[in-house]
């Protein structure tokens, strides 16, 4: 089996082709996604990590997003309109279409987020608002919240606003990539893969996928299950802990608010190979290093002044050698402090400059260093060898004859006891993962992350049952690449 992984970084797009052997290539971002895809013969399974452009978009000055909310009774919410879905998924108050048209006309914005309380139990009202909004916004600039599947209206609202901002760009990327490989997969922030169809329902899953990619790549290339991956990029250096063979997950907060976005735990230090040197090493990038045609001296140029031969090393000659040595010392010292603080005993170096900087960082921090072959493209390798990860949030209400799977209603075809329900959900998640192209061995293990069920008693009779459960296939390295 042949696996192709693409990671769009801050400066370059890395490509890895894994087929027993590993082949890697770097393409400048100037060439665009098409340029990267045109540079290879896309065969086998294609997986793409796109977090850098999305990170930039999310970190950019706030785009104008208008959030229409349907809070119903309870805590109020900005942008609220009439309508109410209750905890059983019953619509107790209808929306007012005329009021919504007026609100949409009065609030001009680039993107629209629609979020109703308990929409994950019944998406009808959100869909009705969306249908009205289509007269005001293009479909790819509207996001709804029910596909996020989990209860937690404020976090869904924050996440839906993120999705409204990135849906269009993700959809455009998906169209471009599918022109090269119809069944390509996106690499997510949880270190797993998902189909474009699944990602377009919640594009926030792509957020911050680079640390996840490098963690998986380090695991694949070194077999190391407990270490700190030090990924030296152009703009930042990321420290990513790996414990028991997997990166650690954390909840993402957007502007101080909880969002339904998980990503790999990583410390991002704002210095990298493209960091500018003025009087001292500065935490910013102003284009390429001089050795790669840039105008300002950088950490990369400093390495050239101290004996390295990176790019057109002669162009780095303008940099004062003492200042170069001082900048390297400052960088090594800053990163070594981060390594020491992590408590790691082993560092795995990643990134284009790993060979030049990791040994010194290791010495200063007093830890063992590993710099595997292909360290420069470790992210893309992680993307190439990862596997489909998928979770299903299921709510079953026998009284309403309703099953909701990841926020989408489905008919309740038959009564099931708890064991049968769990088995059905596990099979459903397995089938969905297989549908995304996962091999049988990757979906053999489905875990039950959550289960709760109780009887509904009315008039002294127990004739209904409500159950909530979450089943998941966890991320990891695909069995076919092991």
């Amino acid at each position: 089996m042949l696996f192709t992984g693409i990671d769009i970084g801050g400066t370059n797009t890395d490509i890895a082709i894994v087929d027993g052997d590993v082949l890697t290539r770097k393409v400048p971002n100037d060439a665009g996604l098409r340029g990267a895809l045109d540079s290879i013969d896309v065969r086998g399974r294609l997986a793409v990590s796109t977090s850098q452009p999305l990170n930039r978009l999310i970190a950019a000055p706030p785009a104008s997003v208008y959030a229409i909310t349907i809070p119903g009774p309870g805590l109020p919410s900005p942008g609220s309109v009439a309508g109410m879905v209750n905890h059983r998924g019953d619509i107790l108050e209808e929306i007012d279409p005329a009021a919504i048209r007026t609100a949409l006309a009065e609030h001009a914005a680039e993107y629209l987020a629609i979020c109703g309380k308990f929409s994950v139990r019944n998406p009808t009202l959100e869909e009705q608002v969306r249908a009205i909004a289509l007269s005001f916004y293009p479909p790819e600039r509207i996001a709804t919240s029910h596909g996020l599947a989990r209860l937690g209206f404020p976090a869904r609202r924050v996440t839906t606003e993120v999705n409204a901002r990135i849906l269009e760009i993700v959809a455009a990327m998906a169209r471009t990539i599918s022109g090269y490989a119809q069944d390509f997969l996106f690499f997510k922030g949880d270190a797993g893969l998902a189909s474009a169809g699944a990602v377009l329902r919640d594009p926030s899953v792509l957020f911050n996928s680079s640390p996840a990619a490098v963690a998986l790549g380090a695991r694949y290339l070194t077999g190391c299950s407990g270490c700190l991956v030090v990924d030296i990029g152009g703009t930042t250096t990321d420290l990513v802990p790996l414990r028991e063979g997997a990166p650690c997950m954390q909840d993402v907060r957007i502007d101080g608010n909880t969002a339904f976005i998980r990503s790999v735990q990583a410390e991002s230090i704002p210095f990298g190979g493209d960091s500018v040197i003025e009087a001292h090493l500065c935490p910013r990038r102003e284009g390429n290093p001089m050795a790669f045609g840039g105008m300002c001296p950088t950490l990369t140029d400093a390495l050239n002044r101290c004996g390295a031969s990176i790019g057109d090393a002669a162009r780095s000659a303008h940099l004062d050698p003492d200042r170069a040595a001082q900048a390297i010392r400052a960088y090594v010292s800053r990163i070594a402090a981060g390594v020491r603080a992590s408590g790691a005993k082993t560092v795995v170096g990643a990134g284009f400059l790993a060979d030049h900087l990791i040994p010194e960082i290791g010495r200063e921090a007093g830890v063992r260093c590993i710099i595997p072959d292909h360290a420069a493209c470790m992210n893309a390798i992680g993307v190439a060898v990862s596997r489909v990860s998928l979770s299903l949030d299921v709510h079953v209400d026998t009284g309403r004859r309703r099953v909701i799977v990841n926020g989408e209603p489905a008919p309740l075809r038959q009564e099931m006891d708890d064991d049968e329900l769990i088995a059905w959900c596990k099979e459903e998640v397995r089938q969905r993962a297989l549908g995304m192209g996962a091999p049988e061995e990757d979906v053999a293990e489905v875990s039950l992350a959550y289960f709760s069920a109780y009887d509904v008693v009315r008039s002294g009779r127990r004739n209904e049952r409500i159950a909530d459960l979450q089943v998941e296939i966890e991320p990891g390295i695909t069995v076919d690449a092991k």
Binding site: P71, G72, P73, G74, L75, P76, S77, S80, M84, N86, H87, R88, L92, E93, K117, F118, L151, G152, F153, P154, A155, T258, S452, Y454, D455, V456, V457, G460, R461, R462, I466
Partner: protein, 359 residues
């Protein structure tokens, strides 16, 4: 400062039997509502974890022989009355509920939280010194109040607004002048006690104030009693701590009672209690859940109202679904306020010699 909520999934596990009104389903929809509102992630809310109350903490309220009976019956199952069966494992669940109330009180006193709500099951206010009744086994709020007295609170005001009279709590503190027990409850109704003329005994005479209200009493009745009786008496008593038996069975959709309080009414009542605590005792207030059986139609909205008021959140959206309006009309008694005004006249007569503000 934050509002503490004591809650644990173990509170859902207690069931006398699967069809009992005080069953597992009772808090399930409320849990959904709180989760959907994002309360557990809200920086104004701190989730507190209960601990099992120690036997000696229970023994400050309950007779040792009663506790022995509960503990022994809990191994195989037993019966207190037809409403109050003892399922196997009950004693551990009752200790956890009482411990939840203790954690609420302790956290407020320690300054970990500004105020707290113990969302516990099983409830407690019908449990007396030697007896359980009315779905109650251990008197959670009494266990908390006795513990608070050992932690520097000399005078404690209990405000019990459950639809049923808190006969257990009244009995426990009937002779205690350091605990002012006040109760607003439907009458005539279970358990049959709580007449305005029950005023305490011995040194505790005057420290029990019962405000029976007729069926159909709604928000304005409660607001009237809070303003006319509770506020002035509380100011005169000048408590160090306010403990609220926050039953939620006064809601107009409750199937076991006949009152007509709304979700907004609950929020207003709790906002009143919070303001009272701010004024009299540096905000020290802990509420403990008692009854409330409109599990699907009422509790999700009343509970969010109570918590929002405790946390000083915006109450403008606290209301019942508009489709409930016919149910409210059926429950509402337009003559209840007149009736209660007469009751307050009686209260002034029986309590006038104990409370200057009522004379």
């Amino acid at each position: 400062m934050t509002t503490g909520i004591v809650y644990h999934p173990a509170f859902l596990t207690h069931e006398q039997h699967p069809l009992h009104p005080e069953r597992r389903e009772r808090l399930a929809y409320t849990d959904d509502q709180l989760t959907e509102e994002g309360l557990w992630e809200d920086p104004r809310i701190l989730r507190l974890h209960p601990r099992p109350a120690a036997r000696e903490e229970l023994a400050r309220v309950h007779d040792e022989r009663y506790l022995d009976f509960l503990e022994q019956s809990s191994t195989t199952g037993g019966v207190i009355d037809l409403d109050t069966l003892i399922p196997p494992g009950l004693f551990a669940q009752a200790r956890l509920a009482a411990g939840g109330a203790l954690v609420a009180g302790e956290s407020v006193m320690a300054g970990t939280v500004r105020n707290a709500f113990a969302m516990v099951r099983p409830p407690g206010h019908h449990a007396g010194t030697c007896s359980g009744a009315g779905f109650c086994y251990v008197n959670n709020i009494a266990v908390m109040v006795q513990a608070l007295k050992g932690r520097g609170c000399e005078k404690i005001l209990i405000l019990d607004w459950d639809a049923h009279h808190g006969n257990g709590t009244q009995e426990i503190f009937y002779g205690d002048p350091d605990v002012l027990f006040t109760s607003i409850h439907q009458s005539p109704f279970y358990p049959g006690t709580g007449d305005a003329t029950e005023i305490g005994a011995g040194k505790g005479t005057g420290y029990t104030i019962n405000m029976p209200v007729p069926a159909g009493s709604s928000d304005e009745v409660y607001q009237y009693l809070l303003a006319e009786v509770i506020a002035p008496v509380a100011a005169e008593f000048n408590p160090d701590f306010i403990a609220v038996s926050a039953g939620q069975d006064n809601h107009f959709t409750d199937p076991l009672t006949g009152l007509a309080l709304t979700a907004g009414g609950y929020a207003s009542m709790m906002a009143f209690a919070v303001e009272l605590a701010d004024r009299l005792c540096a905000g020290r207030l802990a509420a403990v859940l008692e009854g409330g059986y409109s599990v699907e139609g009422g509790l999700p909205y009343t509970t969010i109202g109570i918590i929002a008021a405790l946390a000083g959140m915006d109450l403008s959206g606290i209301r019942d679904p508009s489709s409930y309006e016919p149910l409210f009309r059926r429950a509402f008694n337009p003559h209840a306020l007149d009736h209660v005004q007469e009751t307050v006249g009686l209260l002034r007569r029986v309590h006038g010699s104990f409370w200057r503000c009522l004379s």
